[in-house]
Symmetry: D4
Subunit: 192 residues, 8 copies
């Protein structure tokens, strides 16, 4: 992994931001050791395990991408989405711990919800959050089921099915735990 | 079916209410033809297909059972639960078409929700309603998944899994489309 | 159904287009009989079973929504998406019968693909089309699995899983056969 | 985890009981080290892995919650339910190792069964116990499938399906291994 | 079907009993029309849809095969097993409507259970009956899951899984609704 | 485990054989350490992980139980069945490595097959062996699917389904890897 | 369908054979009515529902394709494969009703098996036939699972899984009931 | 494992190549230690974990087997197929990292594709590659799904289903990750 990052850092002509998803401290240390100013600027994000090297900070997305998540255990996937959105040149904000069992926590943030241009909605267990959020806004909602849960959550299948059957018509779905993919789509929409 | 009803009507000693679930007009006509005052008082409930013969009207349940449902297509199962609860001697009310994609329709009825002693919550598709309702009240919520939906709803499995993974801790679940069973449990709780 | 349409036609204040999905000739005739200029202008679209009453023709979507589909049997779902997109105020075009087993048919239309602002990609069986299309464009691709196929297609599950695991990072997914939902999301994106 | 417990202990105003489910000896030691009279009173329950700090002993539940379980391997989940029920202010008793393959062991305890106000019924493998228990009592039975078993038990799915299809009409179901949730519902019913 | 029966009747040398499973009145009439003394002796068994032509009545099985079933809807499969056992030369008796939710109905018949040499146990829904019966006897129990039920019974899968996970060690399982197969095995055991 | 064995050894009145399934060398050493003549006679069977203490050698089964298995990897489950059958007082023999892809290896042993009174048939992967064996003999065949295989074997589900759908009518099935259970049933049949 | 056939018949330049799979007598009559010598030569094959118009009889396949099938109910799929193979220019023979429960019927035809250049092996239920056939020959075996069976055959899934887990290394698999596809592959191999 | 290899090396009469699939460095070292010229010539292939001892280098396959794979993570399975094909006496080449999301990488190699006599096509995730490759060539394509992916890839099930539903008629499928089996079939075809 560090080898790939080193190769990317060497290529002088292209100066993209670099993002390693689902890394760990060992990979981070190896990246650091590759040397050079960029490598030294690498950051490790503990919650998501992502490693980022930000080389350009230009914002190319037109609006704000908002990452909303349900429970504490969904935060790693939400953070992966948040960082990916930012590394792809978007203003990205977050709204965590607003699961549907305490609906008022979500409703208190209606303004934040309505200001976003694209929403990424991360939830495990019953995966109900995107339906509620989708009903509160008029913009596209990218739903990310997480593998959080046990027993009949079947590693995220319950949340995935819930999201595919969402009764809100502005919801689409990506694979379980795919925070990265959700941010790619959101970024692609935000550049339109 | 009419034969069984006739046998029940003949038994003089027991005077329970009689409930036929998932009947139709043909069975209703046959029941009517069995003759006698009770048979003539039989009612056919088109939405749920239930046939009821109400012979005692005593209320034995201590509080109100509230049947809440998400979409229009969930109403047949909700009605089955409502009628069953009533035939078992409970005050039962309903609150339909309050799906989570339009969360304010549900929130407008908070008073009704908080006045119930037991809540039956009927929903298909993503089955998210019980989680939201469960978060708004402190009483037991019996969740009934319905087979409403298509594709990845898998005949109610998506809703069933969503409900089993509910993040509200006062939610229990019965089988898909089992409005009758939910009302039995609710009634059993309401007599405590 | 015709009853609902009649009620919608009566409401003078709102003049939205009206779309009935998965209708048939009988419903169409009933809609026609409701009378009035609008009802008389109703059109029945045989391929998708949709009935449309177009009352406003203003284009509010900023670009073109392109509906791409794989096989002949996928066309009903594709048509549902196409009509929905149009009724919601979008320029919408289509590109049918470009399944991946004859990749050159798809590649001949690269220009059409790159001119779209949003792409809806409809496919049954192995559901591979969105991955290929996603790799050819930089805009969001909404993938719609169809229940076309038999045996191990499991009513669209094979296509659904294929799309959720797409290796193209600009692909999101809606429920099986949900051409309507895909067009809602596409339209919502196209208005940004 | 110990950090969260410490924060809870510090909050002077609220004096709830504290329950950590699925803990271990390491977490227990860390809790102990947080200091103070409450922390020192913490107990580790080996069978369920629960850690409890009992600060109030008031009984608020009206009757007895009885936890019934089938096999020896179901006891950890049963214990989690038992402790949760007690920590929530209920009188709670248990009846273990009364699986349906030795039906007389269960029948010998009919009196205990009929004295309970709510029953929690914990079983893995074929999950048949709640149906039998439900037939012996008139109170609500909360069924908890466990992931006990191998092969075609599919991590508790066999027991879960068995319970959802119970022919006893006073049975509702919670998620696999969810002893905590079952006790929450039972406690919520017991306060009615 | 009638054609096959006719061919079997013609073969003079072999004089087995003839059994048609899952037939109907039309097939029965056609069999009757094939003519001859044997065909005229054919019987149609309405509950199971079986057609039997009994040509030899010799009992070759050493003991009694007892067919036990849970609910009224399981009787067609139970009858198929009963008739098959008899046509294969066994003394066969039945014990119906002894589901586990009313355990005392089953326990009242302990003598009948203990007199059998092989037991066939037919049950749908949660499929719990074979575990209870298996615990009451020392002889082999052949469990037959039925497709009776709805929703999460998944066409007999819930009962099948329950039976495969039976905690009684004298239980084996055949395919869903396979009353015929269960009787073949039972008969094969009874001839040992 | 060793504790349970020790308790069993202490009970003077009952002198059953003792069988520990799925043990290991550590448990075996602990059993040995419990002391006494019986404990010293304990044997560890490496292939199946079983530990046996044979205290009575009387044969109570009337005929021979033959354990047949398909591939090398199925042997642990087959051995568990073989040892269980023997510890329960049966003459038990085995026939290993006779998978259906080399059908002649099986056919060479027809005599052995026809001499058995009950056959236990152990197979993973496609689980085809019981169908072939069932067609070669007239006695009951207990089929044991094993979790041997990878990918689409789904931990033994492929073999389980194959066996449940066997076209041989003398085949019944037990749970995946349940060599112990198969031997219990076989022994129970062999005592008839 | 008849319309498509008519269009194919009109195209003078290409003279391929024409094959309609899963047709019926109505389609056949319509094809006949399209007129012309070729249409008049159309044949309806009742067992498979196929309609064939043979315009060229040149054999381009190098060897014989042998279609082997297990039970009577598998014959429609086997016939579809046989006709497809022939219409594509192959010598094709068949060997039906040689299921593994009567292994000697299969073994009697070893010569026929070893003379084939490619074998198509059609089986439902446990789908064991390809493993046995694969072990008897050295040529490629294309396995076709059929949806024949009930209960735990799950519409051909049991047979499909069995075939994917075949212990014979010369077996590959096509979709459930896909006799046409199997013959396409076999023909493609036979032209090498 | 090394023991088996040693036994194979000792058998003087047969001089086949030896292939150990899914081995590791420890097994390799043990094989090396068995001594003799052949053992010393053993090679360890890190990507696939295969160990090969090439004793004969005669090419018996008539054409070239081409192994095509989609992503980097599919290479271990592809390598297993490649080595197996070579050890069985075939000319075998490879074409890696030509996934369908970058269709032009694949199309640049059309010549290589059309020169192969048999193609093995290895892909995880959506498993779309065999459909595209199958459409570009006229020779048989053996599709190998891999367990590469996460979430809704379900350990290769998504790819497996995609391949079974391939719209290219020259595609057959083997088990998940079964590179060895695919090469056996390919080799068997290549010798025809």
């Amino acid at each position: 992994m560090a080898e790939i990052v080193r190769a990317m850092l060497r290529r002088k002509d292209s100066r993209h931001n670099i993002l390693v998803t689902r890394g760990d401290k060992k990979i981070f240390a190896a990246v650091k050791r590759t040397g050079g100013k960029d490598a030294r600027s690498a950051k490790f994000h503990e919650l998501s395990g992502a490693i980022t090297i930000e080389r350009i900070q230009e914002i190319t997305g037109k609006g704000t991408i908002l990452v909303v998540s349900a429970g504490t255990s969904d935060i790693p996937v939400a953070e992966e989405a948040l960082l990916t959105a930012r590394m792809m040149g978007n203003r990205a904000e977050h709204l965590y711990d607003v699961g549907v069992a305490g609906i008022h926590r979500l409703l208190e943030h209606r303004e934040k919800l309505t200001q976003a241009r694209v929403i990424i909605c991360v939830a495990g267990m019953e995966g109900a959050l995107p339906s509620v959020v989708g009903g509160l806004v008029a913009v596209p909602v990218i739903a990310v089921p997480t593998s959080v849960g046990y027993g009949a959550s079947f590693g995220g299948v319950a949340a995935l099915l819930g999201m595919l059957n969402s009764c809100s018509s502005n919801v689409t779905v990506v694979n379980i735990d795919n925070g990265f993919g959700a941010a790619c789509v959101a970024s692609c929409i935000n550049r339109l």
